[in-house]
Assembly symmetry: C2
Homo-oligomer: 431 residues x 2
């Protein structure tokens, strides 16, 4: 079959067979279909969106376009977790060892950050010695030994998705829901886990800014996951204000350590801890390890409070080569003070995210290098009452000038008004 | 402006400004917009077709993306002619010298053939010494001297069209009417003429197989040409059976010479001669040189019958380097005889075209080399009465085997039935 005929079929709104989509993915993976033909197909698929069957077939074909992690032999249940990305989202750093401490086998591929959403791989690279380049064999051996392994994305995992994702990014075809769904799930299918917990972020600091769009994505992920035989559970959670207190790579690792080690937490970090427990309970129940949500929640709380999760974290870090917890620290600190008294109506996650990028802590382009030490600690939540002059954030910067710029920008992110404000719901949906 | 925003606008069905289309054409011409982005735009423009204003703007922007022929100083009227392409269509070889003999300044860029439709440049390359690589300066100098110049497409003429055309060919976006219209007219605008005669071919041997599609194309060419200030005239003519008797490069040049030199013609060649006269009359009237169609027709007939057109042809060939009229001849000839008696119901131009390609006389791929000597002479018209054993075609081939194959295939193209058949109309529309 000539790929032009496949382009023409989608152009005319006809349905693709699994075989069509396998041809597409094979050609995208091995480079035999040129980018311009893939780009034409992507636009056709944007304007004639793939139906449920096609979306599942595309996901399968992308997963099968390269290597797959075979977890056979490892103790079940096999769990993977994915977040659609947000500002300050360091959930994996707590959730993965917590779940492994409860007896699940947790195997996760993580990405690097781009734009305002950070990446777990970047965060962990602020830990001295920590390796994020495990091979599939190393992943499996480590998961067999300690129940937990994490790596950066290997080039051979769902290579078709890699090609199509890069093209979508430059051809105005990113926003197609079926293409987003299959991109996310193809990597999960290739990763080999059976129970998948997906955290769909919603708000100014997320890809999906409004509830309606996030719900559509969640529905697509749920139904496609089901069609693929995955045990998918979904949380939809707030990303209108940053998650937790810390935004910035080393700062976020420190916040995760504080949660695991039972350190005293401010209200922002408490909110982050609560999300970790909610997602852990969801996962423990979904995996079949706990019969009810109440039991699952209790197990998660115990693993965190007893220090079992922190012990697993230490085991994990050691297994992946970490030599210390001496995280890089930025030389400049600047406290941001509220300009007036009142109630916090908004802590704009998008502005906070861009401010961290400008400090050097995130990437505008894929090839940018990042400063792992810089970032922002947010010290107030929507709904909090604040007094004029109260510390609402701390900037960690490399230079005084960039700290000053960041502080000014943060005063636009934190909106204080005289009238009271209701707190943001943390969890918008969970099932 | 980021080109992605322009892609997104068309993806969402929004109207482009002239400036958007200038950015597109500049980027397509200088290579600064990558093929995959152009391909995504082409698919968006296929599915949200350009409106009349956008089509005219795209045509203008493509024409302005490279060099333009400036005819200033040459005697008016300036005339150009274009056919959408068909099997046996060697009209330009007669029409151009005929019009120049009548006093028009005729300047034409011609293409090479691809698929079943031949190209004037290929036909003329069967004439020993004939140059089809005149520079813009040589074109102008020659047109000033003898009123007629023809060249192959220069790389710098409407380069944006060249890029987009090549991409459309491989991204299933060829069939968009506004894109076809702007591609055709952009080269005419860049060619500098003011009166443009367009011959839209309709039938099995043409790009537009059915009347409805051909009418849509003709309407688009007419209205866009008008919007661009061109004096456009359109003929829609039959391409269900081959035009004239000869199909194949050297054979077609010989047929054109026969018409110009007043040689005895078979009924197929007579039909070709009639099309030349009709198009000449249309052009002479359109250019303002003749006040009525009757006067124009008489002038065209006189130019042909008197030998003025042939003298101009000789002048033209000499100016472009032709050294003789010793055309290449194929070593094998095979006569095709009717298998039964009756009336000719069909001489399928598409089959005839493919048969010539298989003989080596046309290209399947752009890079194929062609045998200029091979081809077919068709010796009957739809409506003709034929006897069993009567010659209906002659194959000119390089080898006996390929001649035999071609002869067999031709018996499928020439459909003879007992009941009478009406001849095909030659001219479907002319205005």
């Amino acid at each position: 079959v000539d790929f032009q005929e496949i382009i023409a079929a989608k152009r005319d709104g006809r349905e693709h067979s699994l075989s069509d989509l396998e041809i597409l993915c094979k050609g995208a993976a091995d480079g035999s279909i040129p980018d311009y033909q893939l780009a034409a197909w992507l636009m056709a698929a944007y304007l004639h969106p793939l139906n449920a069957t096609e979306t599942a077939d595309l996901t399968r074909a992308m997963a099968e376009s390269g290597e797959r992690l075979d977890l056979t032999g490892l103790p079940k249940p096999w769990v993977d977790k994915h977040s659609t990305g947000g500002v300050g989202d360091k959930t994996s750093l707590v959730l993965l060892p917590l779940l492994a401490a409860c007896g699940l086998t947790v195997v996760k591929m993580s990405g690097r950050g781009l734009g305002i959403t950070g990446g777990t791989v970047d965060k962990l690279s602020s830990v001295p010695g920590f390796r994020t380049d495990l091979s599939p064999e190393e992943m499996k051996a480590q998961a067999a030994k300690i129940g937990l392994a994490l790596t950066g994305q290997t080039p051979n995992l769902a290579p078709a998705d890699k090609t199509l994702y890069a093209l979508r990014d430059v051809t105005a075809t990113v926003g197609s829901m079926p293409l987003i769904v299959s991109s996310i799930l193809s990597k999960k299918v290739a990763g080999g886990a059976e129970t998948i917990v997906l955290d769909v972020k919603c708000g100014s600091g997320a890809f999906m800014k409004v509830r309606e769009e996030a719900t559509k994505l969640a529905d697509g992920l749920r139904s496609t996951g089901k069609a693929l035989g995955l045990n998918v559970r979904l949380a939809m959670t707030d990303m209108d204000q940053p998650l937790g207190s810390a935004v910035g790579n080393a700062l976020e690792v420190q916040e995760a350590l504080d949660v695991l080690q039972g350190k005293p937490l401010n209200s922002c970090a408490e909110r982050f801890r609560e999300l970790c427990l909610s997602l852990a309970a969801l996962t423990l129940e979904a995996s079949g390890l706990c019969g009810t949500h109440e039991l699952a929640r209790a197990k998660a709380e115990d693993a965190l409070a007893s220090g079992k999760a922190e012990s697993k974290r230490a085991e994990w870090f050691e297994a992946q080569g970490a030599t210390s917890l001496d995280l890089p620290k930025a030389p400049q600190r600047l406290v941001v003070k509220a300009e007036g008294s009142g109630f916090v109506h908004r802590v704009d996650a998008e502005i906070v995210g861009h401010t961290v990028i400008d400090l050097g802590g995130g990437r505008k382009q894929k090839t940018d290098t990042i400063d792992l030490s810089v970032g922002i600690e947010i010290l107030c939540l929507v709904g909090d009452q604040v007094e004029q002059g109260q510390n609402v954030a701390t900037v960690h910067a490399h230079e005084e000038a960039s700290a000053q710029q960041a502080a000014e920008r943060l005063l636009q992110a934190v909106v204080v008004k005289p009238e009271p404000a209701a707190p943001n719901d943390l969890i918008l949906d969970l099932r």
